[in-house]
């Protein structure tokens, strides 16, 4: 880690924070509210063609031939594309490139892309799709992950080193797990499962490509990872990356569902090059469901040993992960499924054996809380059961196992700041836990759970020693500061964070900052919006860049006033002389002085992670410069006649380090909690017996309406982190995790049933209630 990467957690001047910690407006809030914001689908270019995708109706088949001659002959069709024209494979993880933009040899799920048409309008393109003749040889489809585990043939992906359907296997042990069985006061061993859920962002995927006369290509895409799309395009199109420009316009939500390079990006780019005209493709909601990359279903077996006082002595996990049809982030998912469980509780001994398999389903990938939401659910339910069996209060058992701050986990992850204990205190207090847990009338209950999550990791997807995040700042004589960042604002507010941080450093109002982001021609590289890394990493880079300018401005003003630099205060767009209070100037005047002294004003800033992680294969995956911590308490009501669980209220306390803008942090906590609660009782990315999504629409995929959302109370805990930007950590994904087990544990408190298999449908509740009745 370079000196540039740490800036301290205090305000830059001695006047305290003027911008940070205040409830400032989001930089793009008004533009979104008024409709002024330009999303990818808003882009209309002269001569633009509309493209549509032909998809496989078979879950697993060999593509024998694709005849596009009739489609090409249709009036209004300008370009047709088949897999053979884009033969190079890609994948977000460079070690597992197993996707083609369009099928070259096989299709691997219902909805897999086969061919594309660009035409003068959408209707013509759709009509042309019907004219494409595809000959398939249908293969046996593998839909059950257990079957995939033991069935090497047919291999969904052929030509790999492994001749089976295993996508990734990780088996790691820290300490001696089995040795803890002897002498353990309690051994609890159970099966758990997590179903499939998807992101359902408001904006469907869309991409527009424009060929330029100078041999360059511009791609606008609704992506979370401009830089990786840039690299993948260059690879697949075999085009010098210097000739490709990728821009992410305003984005209507991602939640991880736009973190892979997607087929439409390559297809519109290739069609644009082929036809010489701009090409747009906007996916339907149904297509978004097929593109998926959502939460991996997991079948999980956990065995925990503990002492009488509740102290955990070992945790042993065996996980089967349903990867769907492609690798996507699967290598990382498989590691995350084990690596991210080792806090906020101390695991003296820990083992996880995770296997991700391929099945003929829409590919699974990263969804908010990538890879760790499922294990967190299982473990927190198991811990609750241990507490119950030992007669220990569920909050108390979590306190007793607290790992602490400034420590290291059993798998070698460095923990710096840690506000988990305060999170527990907050939800205990807010829910009136002591007076109500275990004491509510039958049918009502309270549950608690805790979790931790990363603020980015030091695993940069492709190995390189360059910074993970870079920014460039430009000061204009008008007083406007423009910040260029490769970071992707996907609605989480990362551009706003950059504006606040730069405004804080330069003593400006946030309205004096203009953030230009996610444009590969203009902005320094950032790796993208995933793993909750942007605020932490781009934020640090922004402070790094702004601090250099701050120094120049102060120096120039000090020289002009003939005072000491420490007497120059930058604040709210005004520069004040502390030595002689009557004197001040505007920041514009100060900028002019600085430009006179230093020439054109600009700077760069960068951030890279310190060396982190355990010294073993995969030890850096999940190693984060800082971890966020969360505790949830949930109150539920269970209707014992209908089996319906109503989540009445959820209290969420989240340690995000310093809250750069509390209103945005609360929004992230509430949004995460709401999403988690929906995964418990409503959402199910279900496939029917044919391997076809059972209802790829927003009617049949039940995201909660406002009537279905629980009351939420978000509380912010600020354990100021030594390495975060002014002490900040992540807030976008962590607060989802413990929502789910908190609700599960509340159901136990309400009616005495332990639900271990998501989703908690009313039918499952009724069955469990019946079984409980029979036992008694």
């Amino acid at each position: 880690m370079a000196a540039r990467d740490q800036h301290g957690s205090e305000a830059p001047g001695d006047q305290g924070f003027r911008v940070v910690g205040k409830e400032n407006r989001k930089v793009d809030g008004l533009a979104k509210a008024t409709g002024e914001a330009i999303y990818t689908d808003d882009i209309m270019l002269p001569g633009m063609l509309h493209a549509k995708m032909l998809r496989s109706p078979h879950a697993h088949a060999r593509v024998l031939s694709v005849d596009t001659s009739k489609a090409e002959a249709l009036e209004g069709v300008v370009g047709v594309l088949v897999g053979a024209e884009l033969p190079i494979r890609y994948g977000v993880i460079p070690w597992t490139p197993d996707e083609n933009a369009l099928a070259t040899d096989k299709v691997r799920f219902i909805g897999d892309e086969v061919a594309a048409v660009a035409a003068v309008d959408e209707d013509t393109a759709l009509e042309a799709l019907d004219l494409i003749e595809v000959e398939y040889e249908i293969l046996e489809a593998i839909l059950d992950p257990q079957k995939a585990l033991v069935t090497p043939e047919p291999a969904i992906h052929e030509g790999r080193k492994r001749r089976d359907n295993i996508s990734k296997h990780v088996d790691l042990e820290f300490g001696d797990v089995d040795a803890q069985l002897e002498g353990a006061d309690i051994v609890l061993e159970e099966d758990y499962s997590f179903h499939s859920t998807t992101h359902a962002p408001m904006e469907p995927h869309c991409a527009v490509a424009q060929p330029n006369s100078n041999g360059r290509l511009t791609l606008w895409s609704s992506t979370q990872i401009t830089h990786y799309v840039h690299r993948a395009l260059s690879r697949v199109l075999e085009l010098d990356p210097a000739r490709i420009r990728v821009i992410q316009p305003c984005l209507g939500g991602g939640f991880g569902g736009k973190s892979d390079p997607f087929s439409l990006e390559f297809v519109v780019a290739k069609l644009a090059l082929k036809t010489g005209r701009p090409v747009k493709m906007l996916w339907t909601r149904e297509e978004v469901f097929y593109a998926h990359r959502g939460r991996h279903p997991m079948q999980m077996h956990y065995r925990t040993t503990a002492k009488k006082d509740g102290t955990i002595t070992s945790v042993d996990a065996k996980l089967l992960i349903d990867g769907g049809s492609y690798s996507s982030f699967g290598l990382v998912t498989t590691y995350y499924s084990g690596q991210l469980l080792t806090g906020p509780y101390n695991f003296p001994n820990y083992r996880f054996d995770s296997t991700r398999v391929f099945t003929n389903k829409p590919p699974n990938g990263p969804k908010r809380g990538h890879g760790s939401v499922q294990p967190r659910f299982a473990f927190e339910v198991q811990l609750d059961e241990i507490a119950n069996r030992l007669g220990i209060d569920p909050i108390e058992i979590r306190r007793r196992n607290f790992i602490g701050a400034d420590t290291e986990t059993v798998n070698g992850q460095r923990i710096s700041s840690n506000g988990f204990m305060q999170c527990l205190d907050e939800v205990e207090d807010a829910s009136d836990w002591k007076a109500r847990h275990g004491k509510l009338p039958h049918g009502r209950g309270l549950g608690v759970a805790g979790s931790m999550y990363i603020s980015g990791t030091n695993y940069p997807v492709y190995p390189n020693k360059m910074p993970q995040a870079g920014v460039q700042l430009k000061i204009d004589r008008s007083g406007l500061v423009t910040v260029f960042t490769g970071g992707n604002d996907i609605g989480q507010g990362s551009n706003s964070m950059v504006a606040y941080l730069v405004a804080e450093e330069l003593g400006l109002l946030p309205t004096s900052i203009h953030v230009v982001s996610a444009d590969t021609d203009l902005c320094p590289v950032d790796l993208g919006a995933y793993s909750s890394r942007v605020t932490f990493m781009v934020g640090n880079a922004a402070i790094d860049g702004a601090r250099k300018l701050r120094k120049q401005i102060i120096e120039a003003v000090a020289k002009h006033w003939e005072v000491e630099a420490r007497d120059v205060r930058l604040m709210d767009g005004t520069v004040i002389d502390l030595s002689e209070a009557a004197r001040s100037m505007t920041h514009v005047e100060a900028f002019h002085l600085a430009e006179e002294l230093f020439d054109t004003l600009g700077s760069t800033g960068a951030y890279n992670t310190p060396e982190l992680g355990g010294d073993y294969r995969g030890g850096t995956i999940g190693a984060s410069p800082a971890y966020s911590f969360t505790a949830h308490a949930a109150e539920v009501e269970v209707d014992t006649e209908t089996g319906r669980i109503t989540v009445l209220k959820v209290w969420a306390a989240h340690d995000c380090g310093r809250a750069l803008n509390p209103i945005i942090v609360r929004g992230q906590i509430e949004g995460s909690t709401y999403m988690g609660a929906a995964e418990v009782v409503l959402e199910n990315h279900d496939l029917n017996r044919f391997g076809l999504h059972s209802g790829p629409s927003l009617l049949d995929y039940r995201i909660p309406t406002s009537l279905d959302a629980p009351d939420l109370e978000a509380r912010i805990v600020e354990s100021i982190d030594p390495e975060g930007p002014y002490g900040a950590k992540e807030a976008g994904e962590g607060p989802l995790h413990s929502t789910i087990p908190a609700i599960a544990n509340a159901v136990f408190d309400a009616v005495g049933i332990r639900l271990r298999h998501l989703p908690f449908t009313p039918a499952k509740v009724l069955k469990a209630l019946r079984e409980l009745e029979e036992q008694n």
Partner: protein
């Protein structure tokens, strides 16, 4: 987004004009009321009419008016929001009012009409999908294919009546006023249905539902609607039950009607069950006992199938629960029975 097929739109201003426009074309034509069902169905290529006859300009089809004989006439184009918020309707026909309030969500109730809900196409998880989706299964007998995916080898379409207001109108003995090429007819709503999921009505789609007539309620008529669904809004019923109870001056039930929906092609009247309620008195044990018997009988008579989304065995388990709750709500002047 999904594209609509191409069609022409006609805007008649009278019922007669609408009927003429419906027939003056060789290909298929469809009436468009609120469009909340027709539009998505056209996008799914379930209907690909060459002509759409939009009913928004026909004055006669609007309005909710009490007739001189105390009956109520509801224009078929009255929106579900109109029906749900109409004070007199709410007092006189609570089951209808409650059912209308639980159709879909607020925006769609502002567009969707009572007539459209009565004439709603049946629904099935293997049918209400896009063309691509249905093609992946080789289609089904209701549209473009021959198979049934609900009952493998089945020879009859079992797509489910999914209109919340239909069972309420059934219990109320509503009469439907249709216009067709030969003039006007009126039929009891009970006579509308046939047990065929492909088209569950005995009138052709070229006949126009103009108005719904509700007879004057008895002096102490009560009612309620119960709806099972996953979410608090938007979703079609997974099971629905409407109740009507008529009480005499002593508070004894002298007539009752129950009707369920979201089972098979037709709304499902529960006549035997209703008969058990007659002679009982809410608030007394006779009624409480009858409620249990009715709920048990309803569970025997209502057999949900895996036609619409959701676990059909669970839907079956909910028949008695929702029937019981709806009966109690009707007797107490409460309702609707709905989880939020």
């Amino acid at each position: 987004m999904l594209r609509l097929p191409k069609f022409e739109v006609k805007n008649p201003s009278t019922v007669e004009e609408a009927i003429a426009m419906m027939h003056a074309i060789d290909g298929e034509a469809r009436f468009l009321a609120g469009g909340t069902d027709l539009n998505p169905n056209m996008k799914h290529r379930l209907f690909t009419p060459e002509r759409v006859v939009a009913l928004g300009g026909i004055e006669e089809m609007f309005g909710i008016t009490q007739q001189e004989d105390g009956s109520m006439r509801i224009g078929a184009m009255a929106t579900l929001a109109n029906v749900a918020s109409h004070a007199e309707l709410g007092l006189a026909y609570p089951a209808l009012s409650q059912a209308a309030l639980l159709v879909s969500g607020p925006q769609l109730r502002n567009m969707g009409t009572l007539g459209g809900n009565v004439m709603l196409d049946t629904r099935c998880q293997w049918y209400n999908q896009t063309y691509f989706w249905r093609s992946a299964l080789g289609f089904c007998m209701k549209k473009d294919g021959t198979k049934c995916h609900v009952i493998e080898g089945g020879s009859k379409c079992v797509a489910a009546a999914s209109n919340d207001t239909a069972p309420a109108l059934m219990t109320l003995g509503a009469e439907l006023e249709f216009a067709n090429a030969t003039g006007r007819t009126r039929m009891p709503i009970a006579d509308l249905w046939q047990a065929d999921g492909i088209w569950n009505k005995k009138v052709a789609h070229t006949e126009l539902l103009v108005a719904i007539h509700l007879p004057k309620p008895s002096a102490d008529q009560r009612g309620a609607y119960g709806k099972l669904r996953d979410r608090g809004s938007i979703d079609f019923p997974l099971f629905g039950i409407a109740i009507r109870l008529d009480l005499d001056a002593q508070g004894t039930i002298f007539d009752a009607a129950l009707c369920a929906v979201a089972l098979q092609a037709r709304p499902w009247p529960l006549k035997k069950a209703a008969a058990l309620l007659c002679g009982t008195k809410p608030g007394e044990e006779s009624f409480t006992e009858a409620v249990e018997q009715v709920a048990a009988l309803a569970a025997k008579q209502c057999r949900p199938m895996p036609n619409i989304p959701g676990d059909h065995e669970y839907r079956h388990a909910m028949v008695s629960v929702y029937t019981k709750r709806a009966l109690l709500a009707a007797a107490n002047g409460d309702g609707p029975v709905h989880h939020v």
